[in-house]
């Protein structure tokens, strides 16, 4: 017999009942004492009820769909691993992109989880509080699943096992560390712009969309499933970031200059962080689908412009750095890879000179810059390598005090000279990669004088393994730093001739012959 079931509540009513209606105002303590952080940045909020999470995801639906995502993900991971999937990737150079990803990404996911737990606690409205809580759980999931997926590769290839130790110590991982250190030590609203807007909208759209599609193209089903599964949450995260920006702008006109400054700052910080992601796409994926430049045009220039045009009704203008990022998209990945190639003793992943076909692909994708500026450098480095004179820069890099990238990017409008800025603060000199980073420093110098810079720490004697006397007259910081980093020597230097290369060839041979 048919039974007439009472019509379910609509999505909007369900969402309201399950979030806002479950919240209450405190009475034993005044609300401003319970939520002390929401005022000190100068942001004025008059009515928290005006915030509505557009995804309208209630907690019960959240757990249901996330559980389903995890089941799918682990089914694919298990199948890939059971089937020795690592031997089906294009070639063993691919493993190096995983090594760079492992050091640079899961630790940041963990920081995002921490950050959203903290910020969720500070948000007065129930809508953002629930959304932040979900995001904190999501980011923790990303942190775990990324490590799980790469742990299988770690059984076979060198240089992966010390990523957690290296993350907060190694020079090339400091840009990501500083991005999150900066965001998490800001107030709750700036954190939302830093991560919800710059990290999710600008960065993850490139890292987890074209890059992960590229990983799939290279046969890495594990990275593909983890990356896309993470990105399915990022769509929700971007929406939260955008909603927060709109909410601040709608609540009070005084919020506009503060929000604008954060958008300017974090767009630039996101751009700098992307140089290495772009390098992964242009140089480290053996098979490529899209250049960094093309990805940047789709996901930042067009998609970013769509957002800025939309926000113009509140008075938001395009970030100050926008035109510089457009100029730089044709340069940064090449400058980054050359930079890594030149430091063969200082990374737990291998580098190489791109092959002839790869150089041609780069020429085609970068018609304005590659042949003119970068191909000659590779040809020179290659010739030096062949005559036994492989370039090896043994000095400590100079880093930007704000973004902590090594100072290597070019002067705007002049690709042949390095961009370098400095300023004095309390009698000390500080160095920057760009005008934008210098501006960021000058706005909050007390914050950025504390930046962790691996080179400075090394020279100050703070990066020696236990038992080494840093005050001995013959102490040389460079002698110990690789041990301090717990750097696996087998994973450094050239890919050609490496253990990974030999093992992969031998195992693949076994897998395809009797």
């Amino acid at each position: 017999m048919d039974m007439k079931v009472a019509k379910k509540l609509g999505l909007k009513e369900r969402y309201t009942l399950m979030t806002r209606d479950l919240a209450w105002d405190t009475t034993y303590q005044p609300m401003d004492k319970v939520f002390p952080q929401v005022t000190f940045e100068g942001i004025k909020i008059h009515d928290w009820d005006k915030w509505e999470d557009p995804f309208r995801l209630t907690m019960d639906a959240y757990w249901k769909y996330q559980a389903e995502k995890e089941r799918k993900l682990y089914a694919i991971l298990d199948a890939f691993n059971q089937n020795n999937g690592h031997l089906s990737v294009t070639d063993a150079r691919y493993m190096n992109v995983l090594k760079l990803f492992l050091g640079s990404t899961p630790p940041l996911e963990l920081m995002a989880a921490r950050g959203f737990s903290m910020v969720g606690r500070q948000m007065v409205g129930a809508g953002p509080r629930v959304a932040c809580q979900m995001q904190a759980v999501d980011e923790y999931r990303h942190f775990q699943t990324q490590i799980h997926s790469i742990s299988n590769y770690n059984k076979f290839y060198n240089g992966m096992d010390e990523f957690a130790h290296q993350q907060s110590r190694m020079w090339y991982l400091s840009d990501g560390k500083s991005f999150f250190d900066d965001a998490i030590t800001a107030g709750p609203f700036e954190f939302m712009v830093a991560i919800g807007f710059a990290f999710e909208y600008v960065l993850t759209n490139i890292l987890f969309v074209p890059f992960i599609s590229g990983a799939a193209y290279n046969g890495d089903m594990a990275a593909m499933t983890v990356g896309f599964s993470a990105q399915s949450d990022e769509a929700r995260h971007m929406t939260l970031g955008l909603e927060c920006i709109k909410f601040m702008l709608e609540q009070d006109p005084d919020n506009l200059p503060i929000v604008q400054r954060w958008i300017d700052k974090w767009t630039w910080r996101g751009t700098r962080k992307l140089a290495s992601v772009g390098m992964m796409m242009d140089y480290m994926l053996p098979k490529r689908i899209m250049s960094f430049k093309e990805a940047w045009e789709i996901y930042f220039e067009q998609n970013g412009a769509a957002l800025f045009t939309d926000l113009a009704r509140y008075g938001i203008t395009v970030p100050k750095c926008f035109s510089q990022t457009i100029e730089e998209k044709e340069h940064v990945t090449h400058q980054s890879w050359i930079g890594f190639y030149m430091k063969p003793d200082a990374t737990p992943f291998h580098t190489w000179i791109p092959g002839k076909e790869e150089l041609d692909w780069l020429s085609e994708k970068y018609p304005n810059t590659f042949d003119k500026y970068y191909r000659p450098v590779y040809e020179f480095l290659d010739q030096q390598e062949k005559t036994g004179n492989r370039f090896n820069n043994k000095t400590q890099p100079m880093n930007c005090q704000v973004c902590v990238s090594t100072i290597k990017f070019n002067e705007p409008g002049d690709p042949m000279s390095t961009c370098f800025r400095e300023t004095r603060y309390k009698g000390e000199k500080f160095h920057f990669c760009s005008d934008h980073c210098k501006d960021i420093f000058e706005h909050e110098p007390e914050k950025y004088v504390q930046t962790y810079i691996s080179s400075h720490q090394g020279l100050q004697g703070n990066c020696a393994p236990e038992g080494v006397d840093v005050n001995a007259p013959d102490f040389n910081p460079g002698d110990h730093i690789a041990d301090y980093w717990k750097l696996d020597k087998r994973a450094t230097g050239d890919f050609n001739g490496s253990e990974d290369q030999k093992n992969f060839a031998a195992w693949r041979d076994q897998a395809t012959k009797n």
Binding site: G10, L11, K12, P54, F55, R56, L57, A61, Y65, E68, K69, K72, T204, N205, F208, V209, P210, I212, S213, G214, A216, Y217, M224, F228, Q231, S232, E234, A235, R236, M238, T239, L242, I289, M290, Q302, N303, A305, A306, T309, D310, R313
Partner: protein
């Protein structure tokens, strides 16, 4: 010129139906297939209608199931029981 609203999905049997539904309901849709994923752009406003997806799948469909397959979106989102809409005001 209106900015594009877009949505990208992992490529699988379910999203094949979802993309067919989008194309039917958004005549200006541009479908872009890439390894393991598919991206659909529509100038200004992109709408996914539950009824059309159900017709393509031949089963009931809850628009929140999109969560499982989503890769990324662009545009302001409005979600009801019947429609999932992404749009830019410009």
């Amino acid at each position: 010129m209106a900015s594009n609203a877009f949505i990208a999905f992992q490529k699988n049997e379910e999203t094949r139906c979802i993309v067919e539904a989008i194309v039917e309901d958004n005549p200006e849709a541009i479908v872009n297939e890439q390894p393991a994923m598919v991206k659909v752009d529509v100038p200004g406003r992109l709408v996914i209608k539950r009824a059309t997806v159900e017709e393509k799948m031949g089963r009931d469909f809850d628009l929140q199931e999109l969560q499982l397959h989503l890769i990324t979106i662009s545009g302001h989102l409005d979600e009801t029981d019947d429609e999932f809409t992404l749009s830019w005001n410009s």
